[in-house]
Point group: C2
Chain length 485, copies 2
């Protein structure tokens, strides 16, 4: 067993989860039911939305939580935990419920994308693992979607593994990128684990290994006559790479009845080169040869290239996708929303000087409101279980402008979240990755306003409240402020 | 076995490694010996150096490379590989040699931090896994060092797991951060796997769970009287958190003969709050109570806080360390340097319009040159095995200004790299993580100019060449340019 295989994912936690858990255990509070919400506060890259991703891994994780004898021994060595607590850990299994958005749901700031309802210790011990998974995959899915949108129908592939923040980032990052709309990945582990189409042809080293570029191209074409894509920038794209590629197309592939599938440019001025190359290929009768480009691209450079009429059929996106370079932090947090008291859930609120950092307390339902054309006009928080009747004009509160009197008329609503884990076990079969990917696409094409999808100053999606929920929040807020002012 | 445990790290590769390998196999080139160099081109954050990290994991990886029957079947299903090649994979083990800098070495752009000398297929199949490991850990180690330097002797801890790019990024990122100088981590998996000191106290949820802040603090102090650090910003630092912390110090801890170890502030204006809080604590006789701060900090905010005379003893650094937010890509590349021909290694060069992207060809030695005081004045590339005598003034070439006539006088040199893997197996026991961390510290304190360590416009470390190596490179460059112009 390698060092890499020895990991127990249950140990991917912040140590404070354990110090708190031991404290709760000693106070006999461990079985009090609580609710924690996962939500984020701002869309990456000043965008209009984010894509919820990583749920499958969270469910896999909570179902399999356990501490080995070695793990418990590690905690014992810290010298601060009671023996009863350590014995309790040996038999620990997550026994809570998890409500979540379906994976791939378009989500917005301050909405509870996940709610964990569980005994206090159970809820506390899953915090960091859930956040790391959601933060990573939602970040990459959202970034991928931006690049796919910029590519405007052209294929985008993930080439990022070597610049990923280690192995999981490459593998789960490729999964998230596929959810966001890339057509495939170069990362084999991701292809194998998640059935994502994989692609790959040659590195500069292939070209440099052979005595000259023509020989290198010829060998590749002979080996893969049905899928020859040649990397043309090892020496000089215009004076060497493309002439040699054209020669291979004519002298090697065409006698076999094959066509040159594509060429790839990985450096230089891609706008200029792609236009020059397109003309050279067309003149040689290779109008069907695709031009693939790669080299530190993202949604901004892709947009710029296409604005310059670059002749590009396909983009390979590496480091700026797999690290979400322009904004590599997705800031989802895990906040206590309610505590079980006398058989009911008493709401909790986290106050702050900054009004946007005040949490939404209590158990609640999250609805998406659609107009008659099926467009999502807003999301709305309601008290958990509160009946909502949209057959009549429905008055709601915009919490940013609560003095305004607003109504939904002629709208329909959908309760956005489902119960995915009940008492520690998944409640249903999860969708396939392709189903998740299609769900993203369907929402963005049919439900989400185009104005929310633009990069520059996108329309802000409203998170409204039912009057009852708004009242609950305001009452709790003033009560808490009185107690701590 | 969970989804997470099913990964085979050998499959963390780019698919082109496999298409090339199959091509080499068919041409009977697979056993040709080649040399690949790993190097990077620019220091992160416009800094003066980087820290080489991740070597232990690379060695663990190459020693354990293997394809399972399921892996080979996955490749078979791609429908493009020969059956002989697939059978060859079933018995594949890495059989090459790896030369590298000792882990923790201060390194500079364009230096070969690793050279893989191996049969062609072996060398090609390790590319992406090596790069991902070096790129991630060197990135985080370098970033950590910058933050530690800014903290100017105060303790810095890694709190980043929840914002890491998935589980490995949290775990190996904590390892790298420790190499870079943090005193510990909150990430339990990293503490357990790498024997890094772990720390953790409470989240806001602890405070919110109890009926009031005082009760929450009291419970914590009773549970951990020797290590009470209280999070004071759940409601209001000045009007609630600190008064309650002081009350607990006096009413709970002092009757037990204990002291309040610290308080932590996680939001708000940390400069203002820390100064106010220091005065309040001192006035209450708690001069020994440490002030810990956290909240989206990095080397720039830490510098700013200390410039404002903030009263801070310890920093918890989260997202901006674990993602290296200001520059989350470390761009190490893997380039063919030489190919075995007739029992010798023929150098290969990758040309480019950009002179800084031209590779350093051939097998070579990398030396660090020290002055009489032990300061590293430059690094130098030499032809592999070239004798170097520094007992006499030694003429060298600055490749950026080759026309200058320069000499090292009264200097000593050290061959920076060692053979770590011979024919697929490690040659020696690796240093412990603490030894690596101390090695970083020792170099930065004794060998590396302070001017290279500043953040603003640091002094550039020279990478010089022996005349023989410079000549080799120039000859190969003009030959290659003639052939491809």
């Amino acid at each position: 067993m390698t060092q890499f295989d020895k990991r127990n994912i249950t140990m991917m936690m912040d140590f404070y989860e354990m110090t708190m858990a031991n404290g709760y255990f000693q106070d006999h509070d461990k079985d009090v039911q609580v609710a924690f919400d996962v939500f984020y506060r701002a869309n990456p890259d000043k965008g209009g939305f984010a894509i919820f991703a990583g749920l499958e891994q969270i469910i896999e994780y909570v179902e399999n939580m356990e501490f080995s004898k070695e793990d418990v021994e590690y905690f014992r060595q810290q010298g601060i935990f009671s023996e009863e607590f350590l014995q309790y850990l040996e038999n620990f299994h997550f026994s809570g419920d998890i409500y979540a958005l379906p994976e791939g749901t378009i989500m917005y700031p301050n909405e509870p994308c996940i709610t964990v309802v569980a005994p206090l210790i159970d809820a506390q011990l899953v915090e960091t693992a859930i956040l790391a998974q959601i933060n990573h995959q939602s970040l990459i899915a959202t970034k991928a979607r931006r690049i796919v949108k910029a590519a405007n129908g052209r294929a985008v592939s993930d080439f990022g593994a070597r610049r990923a923040h280690n192995m999981d980032a490459a593998t789960y990052g490729a999964r998230a990128a596929y959810i966001g709309g890339v057509v495939g990945t170069a990362t084999v582990s991701a292809g194998q684990m998640f059935n994502i189409p994989i692609s790959g042809t040659m590195a500069h080293s292939w070209v440099m290994f052979y005595k000259d570029e023509y020989t290198a191209f010829k060998k590749y074409a002979e080996t893969y006559p049905d899928a020859t894509v040649l990397l043309v920038d090892t020496y000089d794209v215009i004076h060497s790479g493309i002439p040699n590629a054209i020669r291979v197309a004519h002298e090697v592939l065409e006698p076999m009845g094959k066509r040159l599938v594509g060429i790839r440019i990985d450096s230089g001025d891609l706008a200029y080169l792609s236009k020059r190359v397109r003309k050279m290929l067309d003149k040689a009768g290779l109008e069907d040869c695709k031009i693939v480009v790669s080299n530190s691209l993202d949604e901004f450079t892709v947009t710029s290239l296409l604005n310059q009429d670059a002749c590009i059929d396909s983009f390979g996106i590496g480091e700026r996708l797999i690290t979400a370079k322009s904004e590599p932090v997705f800031g989802a947090v895990y906040k206590l929303a309610a505590v079980g008291e006398n058989g009911e859930f008493a709401p909790r609120i986290k106050v702050s000087e900054n009004i946007e950092k005040i949490t939404n307390p209590g158990l609640k339902d999250l609805y998406r409101v659609y107009d008659a054309d099926g467009h999502a006009v807003a999301d709305m928080l309601a008290v958990c279980g509160e009946p909502i009747d949209l057959s009549q004009p429905f008055r709601y509160v915009d919490p940013v402008k609560p003095w305004k009197n607003r109504v939904f008329e002629g709208c329909t609503i959908k309760n956005l979240r489902k119960l995915y884990v009940r008492q520690g076990k998944r409640t249903e079969e999860l969708p396939t990755l392709d189903e998740i990917r299609n769900y993203v696409k369907q929402q963005l094409e049919n439900e989400i306003w185009e104005e929310e999808q633009r990069f520059e100053n996108p329309h802000r999606h409203y998170l409204d409240m039912t009057p009852a929920y708004y009242e609950l929040k305001m009452e709790l807020l003033s009560k808490t402020r009185e107690e701590h002012a």
